[in-house]
Symmetry: none
Subunit: 71 residues, 2 copies
Amino acid sequence: MEEATMHKSTLNVTPLLTPGEVATMFRVDPKTVTRWANSGKITAVRTLGGHRRFLEEEVRELLEAVPTQRR
Amino acid sequence: MEEATMHKSTLNVTPLLTPGEVATMFRVDPKTVTRWANSGKITAVRTLGGHRRFLEEEVRELLEAVPTQRR
DNA sequence: AACGATTGGGGTAATTCGGGAC
DNA sequence: CTTGTCCGAATTACCCCAATCG
């Protein structure tokens, strides 16, 4: 579909994830994701109300980052 | 809103298990599961804090008993 | 405005980590 | 050779309640 005929606007938005979604992906508690953000282990964007949102791309990288074993 | 109900988009979810859960399923000590991971016998993903998470699918496969013959 | 679900603060239990030795 | 246990330290989970989200 061409841009001119698209109904929804094609804004360049970086996909964001909620704390709950990130928590699900890592199999941890949402509060744990919050602690990761506070300690600078993961980038966090804030809503105007103070809630955190996370970069989907960064999350996927962090999930793949640590492979398996080490001797 | 529940995870299953949210229409956020197809969030890539690979079901993960904690060391304790895997240990319970195999009826072994969690430390033993850690040893399996360190020796590369089972795949492990890491949380940002260094804790291990295991692939549920792989665990289920490993749990499958071979009645007639092993090895 | 009102509603259910989620999140953000805190505090306190429970797991997990790593090493090491038996 | 595998497994369970011991230890201290670090990480994570669960509890409350008020605020934000959609």
